[in-house]
Amino acid sequence: MNRSDSGRFKKIGILVGVVLLLGLGGAVAAVFPSASNEGYSPEQPIPYSHKLHAGTYKIQCQYCHSDVEKSKHANVPSVNVCMNCHSIVKTDSPYIQKIKKAYDENKPIEWVRIHELPDFVYFPHKRHVAKGVACQTCHGPIQEMERVYQYSPLTMGWCLDCHRGKTTPKEVVARVYPGVKDPKGLIAPHQCTTCHQ
């Protein structure tokens, strides 16, 4: 083997290395897609329309998501809440009949979870609502959604952008820092333990 041969092998080696690295990168990207599930919009057992209820009829979000001010969870309502209206309203719809059946048979409805944070994240709805963050800030134009989809990426960077003041809604800033025109820097808790415990 002469000198140039060894040089060529070296070049080939580097090339192979680069290709392998690229391939590995691609594989990693394929295996670990973005942590975000933005746009996720699964079919639900009952095609409940937020557009109709929250948009057209302007029913308060908290009528159904009644724990949002009390708990970390913005609860999905129990069947009896649906029945408050639907024991009278639109009882001829097959979906309403499905709800009535669940209610009568005491079998809960299994909704598909859309907004899901990893198990090591402890996000409280309660504190955010108390600070005046609107539902739409994170959940988007929910009152226009026929079928709910995930509006925000719900990634840590996205959370921190708001906590650091980059994307914080003006009305929230005004409410939390009354009288302060331009609060600087970190405007909400940003310790690791704020969300991870």
């Binding site: 609860n75 069947v79 669940a102 409805i109 909704w111």
Partner: protein, 1072 residues
């Protein structure tokens, strides 16, 4: 620091040591030994580490390892799948009181002790037990066993439906309807029905049982209560001394002098949680008022080292059975020597004491005359302000009742009766029936005079020795029904096994003490097809009435609906005064508070009982001990107790506070006897007594009398479940039945080496401190003289401003800190289990403990000082110190452990990549690494026990104490809602919450008025390894011993500097 370990010209061992090994020069000089100790991480798989595991015949280690690896591979290959679809399943009709994500607390009671509980319930499942602060007995705290009771509820080995059995261990499932029909038919035909239950603290259950027995067969039935560790001898002694068979209430908070003859009242005896809190009241010190500092002085005379002995100011090791001689020698000194008390001229008393001169007893037992005289003087000095107690299985020798009489005599002679000994308080806690009643029952069974036997909540086949004949007698009974939570040793030999509710699934009431009654309510709907025993009784009574088969008087209970209705009716009749209309409100009130009649319960109206001098004739004449015999004592461990919760992995892996051993029992042998027998730690020996032979590994236990050995009860369960079966060895065969009493102690044994070795999973050597200055103690006299001496004992502990490169942190809001009072810490370990329950800390199994992979966030360190034959003990709960300049933070390459703005050192699991640099760099060795996915060992229902507010950690992640950050956030959340700052004491981490002695105080050190700030400024406060300038947020308060004399080698922290420590210790040998 390192040069301390280099060879010295004149070797002097460390003042505080964790095992006798540290007292030998080789430990410090042998390079091989040093290297082995330095191996903090065991990187090889468990099975390849040198484990000599001969008793472990099943090869569990390997199998578990492969399972875990297999599972991990499966996980790895699923990683590229899409995110799993999760469902949200709301209630159909949401119960009004439930808000998803918000915990409810319900008050209930522990049916073993009558303690009040608060159960944290999330979405209908209990996730944590805490003490009910309203309850006057346990005052909001719990023991390690109390904390662990939660896991029993979710035990996957519970029996899930009724079974019929062939009396040979083969059980077949059946329906409740079939079981009731079959049993009822036989019950109605049966003439003589007997119920054998565990000890009951429920008045309603007792009453219902009475009605059940009255209803069937002309009331010819009877009920016997059996508790393996019942205090029969106390009842007998009280009966003979005062004419009433009660277990008195001992007021340790009123006593300036406490003498315990074997009674482990801080660990396992009668009502430990209550006794601990009362005892600790006289162990609190205020350095500002040090000149007037007062502390109780406790003497413990015992044959095996217990928690109580470890906390004694003066501990006197004796042979099992010699407690009596020492007690009588003290009495002799008071009555005959000093001619004190009204009994000085009593002939019976004089006769009984005649042989027990301090000289004779001292020569026989090895307890010095000075000590006997000192005890007598202390007692006389504090007449009416002292208390003398005796008890626990290790004192149940043939002379157990005589010991009780001697103790009662002392209390009466010293005017303690009616003051510190309250014979009217009558705690219901474990009085049970005495063994004589069981013996009578066994006799009847053997004679074929029992037609039906119902066994409820009791396991006599395991707890009694075979020689008691219960198992044989059971065969003669035509119908045996066992009501139990599992197919245990007894239930497997029954015709029917009717699974009972766990107490968290059941109604009931409890009366742990006269005047204190509490309610028990279900906090979860029954998980399995189980039924409350009481509902079973009601069903049978009703079934009997309906069939017209009840010849006896038909009790009111036939009309009662369910057990709950019965309890309500009983309460309305017994506890409710006033109009019936008001009862519902009353009931709701008691249910909410959990306890009734709490306010004035403890300030009992005591009256003095007269001691019957005639009882002293029961005292045997003085007899010299056989100086060659080695005597065996059986004792109960703080965690395992009598073995009833053997299947509870939290308790199995709970390091026993004294030996720090997990997962096994062993033979405790003193260092002197070990040398004499030529045995070492972990050697398997054969122990042969009159009635049994057993092979067990040796634990060399400092502080044992040279002729005493001891073994823990509660191990060697044959049918406990997957976790508890075949753990350790059953030593019940050593128990003898003598004159209608169970004799646990004082059996002569022969010990033979087998040449085999078994590694006990002991945690005491993990994270060894290599003689760095960790711990501090001082005598009371020195403390009074100069309180600041308390933390100046060792100049190396002190930090005198060191310049630092790090910028100081600024804390604008709270800054969390903790103070731990080593003086009131008894080492009971409630914090260890409380922490596990709160923080989802996994159990790792015996083999992983052997290679120091246990996961407990709180390590209960135990240090000895003084002579090996009779050392002083100090406990130190060691947890993350939340350093200001945390060494872990600076080495984490991924910023997974960071400082937060409230002074905490936070560990972020999702960032951690498992380099373990932080663990390596932690001077306190409090970081724990998940070598495996330990959470996967939680099967089925056990997964309901996880705390939903805390992340469950996966493999490859570091974890450690977080100061219960989830509780901090929860409390802050509540305070924010109410628009205020947190109040001092409002927020308690799990360890502080459950601490029976209030030894752990957590709070805001930015607030100069908070309790923790005050304590940090106290003269006793020191910070561990302060010299490192890591600035821990945890302060410890120096242990103060009520000793005249400064402990030996007081200022000699490092060996070589002042070489008197061991010399002094050696000089003490032989005359403790």
């Amino acid at each position: 620091m390192e040069n301390q370990n280099s060879p010295q010209n004149s070797f002097s061992p460390p003042r505080h040591w964790i095992g006798t090994e540290e007292l030998s020069e080789g430990y410090w000089n042998d390079p091989k030994a040093i290297e082995k100790r330095g191996q903090e991480f065991h990187d090889k798989p468990v099975e390849t580490i040198d484990l000599i595991d001969k008793l472990d015949s099943k090869g569990i280690a390997r199998r578990d390892f492969l399972t875990i690896m297999g599972a991990s591979m499966a996980m790895a290959s699923f990683a590229c799948a899409r995110r799993p679809v999760h469902k949200i399943i709301p209630y159909v009709v949401k119960p009004e009181e439930i808000t998803a994500g918000v915990a409810n607390f319900y008050a209930t009671s522990c049916p073993d002790t009558g303690y009040g509980l608060l159960v944290k319930v999330r979405e209908g499942r209990p996730v944590k037990l805490e003490g009910n602060p309203e309850h006057p007995m346990n005052k909001g705290t719990l023991s390690a066993r109390g904390q662990a009771a939660l896991l029993d509820l979710y035990d996957p080995d519970r029996t899930k439906e009724p079974m019929s059995g062939d009396r040979n261990g083969n059980l077949r499932a059946m329906s409740w309807v079939d079981a009731d029909a079959a049993i009822l038919a036989k019950l109605r035909a049966a003439g003589r029905v007997r119920v054998l239950s565990g000890n009951l603290v429920s008045d309603s259950t007792r009453r219902l049982l009475g009605e059940f027995l009255a209803a069937f067969n002309n009331g010819s039935g009877s009920h016997v209560e059996f508790d393996a560790l019942a205090n029969d001898e106390v009842l007998d002694g009280q009966l003979e001394s005062y004419g009433t068979a009660v277990i008195p209430n001992y007021r340790f908070d009123q006593a300036k002098t406490i003498i315990s003859f074997g009674a482990d009242f801080l660990g396992t005896w009668v009502s430990p949680v209550e006794f601990m809190s009362e005892w600790a009241k006289r162990r609190k010190l205020d350095s500002k008022n040090a000149a007037n500092a007062e502390m109780s002085k406790m003497y413990v005379i015992e044959s095996t080292m217990t928690l109580t002995g470890a906390n004694a100011d003066e501990r006197l090791p004796v042979r099992p059975g010699d407690e009596l001689k020492v007690a009588l020698a003290v009495a002799h000194e008071i009555i005959v020597g000093k001619k004190q008390s009204r009994f000085a001229s009593d002939a019976t008393v004089g006769n009984a004491l005649s042989g027990y001169t301090p000289q004779a007893v001292s020569a026989d037992t090895g307890v010095s005359i000075t000590m006997i005289q000192q005890m007598a003087e202390e007692l006389l000095k504090n007449r009416g302000k002292s208390v003398v107690v005796a008890g626990s299985p290790q004192t149940k020798s043939a002379n157990a009742v005589a010991l009780q009489i001697a103790v009662n005599f002392l209390n009466s002679a010293l005017d303690n009766e009616g003051v510190t000994v309250d014979g009217t308080a009558n705690p219901n806690v474990r009085p049970g029936d005495r063994f004589a009643a069981i013996e009578k029952l066994i006799g009847e069974m053997k004679a074929g005079a029992v037609d039906a036997l119902i066994i409820y909540g009791s396991n006599p086949v395991y707890n009694l020795p075979k020689s008691a004949g219960f198992e044989e007698a059971m065969k003669k009974v035509p119908l045996v029904v066992a009501v139990s939570d599992r197919d245990d040793e007894t239930a497997r030999l029954a015709d029917y096994l009717l699974p009972d509710h766990h107490f968290l699934e059941n109604w009931g009431d409890a009366s742990g003490r006269k005047g204190v009654v509490s309610l028990q309510q279900p906090v979860i709907s029954p998980i399995h097809s189980t039924r409350a025993f009481q509902d079973t009784l009601l069903t049978w009574i009703k079934g009997g009435v309906k069939a017209g088969g009840l010849a006896g008087k038909v009790a009111a209970s036939a009309d009662a609906g369910t057990w709950r209705d019965y309890v309500m009716a009983n309460w309305q009749a017994t506890h409710h005064s006033g109009a019936a209309a008001g009862f519902e409100l009353f009931w709701e009130g008691v249910l909410r508070d959990g306890v009734f009649g709490a306010k004035n319960a403890i300030a009992s109206t005591s009256s003095t009982r007269a001691f019957r001098a005639g009882a002293m004739s029961r005292i045997p004449a003085f007899k010299k001990a056989n100086a060659d015999e080695i005597l065996l004592a059986l004792y109960a461990k703080v965690g395992m107790y009598d073995g009833r919760s053997s299947n509870n992995p939290w308790l199995q892996e709970f390091p026993e506070p004294i030996s720090t051993a997990t997962w096994d029992n062993y033979l405790n042998v003193g260092p002197a006897l070990a040398t004499k027998l030529g045995i070492q730690q972990d050697d398997i020996v054969e122990i042969t007594g009159d009635s049994a032979t057993v092979q067990l590994p040796v634990n060399v236990q400092p502080g044992m009398h040279p002729l005493a050995v001891s073994i823990a009860l509660g191990y060697g369960r044959r049918n406990a479940g997957k976790v508890g079966t075949d753990v350790g060895m059953d030593v019940a065969p050593f128990i003898k039945v003598v004159n209608g009493a169970l004799v646990y102690s004082g059996h002569p044994v022969k010990i033979r080496r087998t040449g085999k070795v078994y590694r006990i999973a002991i945690t005491q050597w993990h994270n060894a401190t290599e003689n760095r200055p960790i711990i501090n103690d001082i005598s009371l006299t020195d403390f009074i003289k100069k309180p600041s001496e308390a933390n100046e004992t060792d100049p190396e502990l002190r930090l005198h401003e060191i310049p630092t490169l790090w910028p100081a942190y600024e804390y604008k809001g709270y800054r969390w800190g903790m103070a731990i009072d080593l003086n009131s810490c008894t080492g009971c370990g409630a914090c260890v289990i409380g922490c596990m329950a709160e923080n989802n800390t996994p159990v790792v199994g015996r083999n992983n403990v052997r290679v120091s992979r246990e996961m407990h966030w709180i390590r209960l360190d135990r240090y000895y000082s003084g002579s090996t034959e009779n050392p002083d003990v100090v406990f130190q709960p060691m947890l993350c110190q939340h350093c200001e300049n945390a060494p872990c933070e600076s080495v984490c390459p991924v910023l997974a452990t960071v400082h937060d703005d409230e002074g905490m050192n936070s560990q972020i699991y999702n960032r951690c990549v498992g380099t373990r640099y932080c663990q390596n760099n932690c001077p306190y060795k409090v970081r724990r690494f998940n070598f495996f996915d330990h959470w996967k060992s939680y099967e089925g229902t056990m997964n309901l026990a996880w705390n939903p507010d805390v992340t469950v950690r996966t493999r490859g992640i570091m974890e450690k104490c977080t100061f219960c950050v989830q509780r901090i956030r929860g409390a802050k959340d509540k305070a924010k809602d109410e628009g205020r700052k947190l109040l001092d004491g409002e927020l308690k981490p799990a360890c502080q919450q459950t601490c029976p002695t209030d030894a752990i105080i957590f709070g805001d050190i930015n607030d100069p008025n908070s309790r923790v700030s005050q304590l940090r400024g106290d003269a006793r406060a020191f910070r561990v390894l302060e010299i490192l300038n890591v600035k821990p947020s945890i302060s410890y308060m120096t242990k103060v011993r009520n000793k005249e004399k400064q402990p030996e080698g007081h200022t000699a922290r490092t060996h070589g500097s002042e070489a008197n420590a061991h010399k002094g210790a050696n000089a003490e040998k032989g005359s403790y």
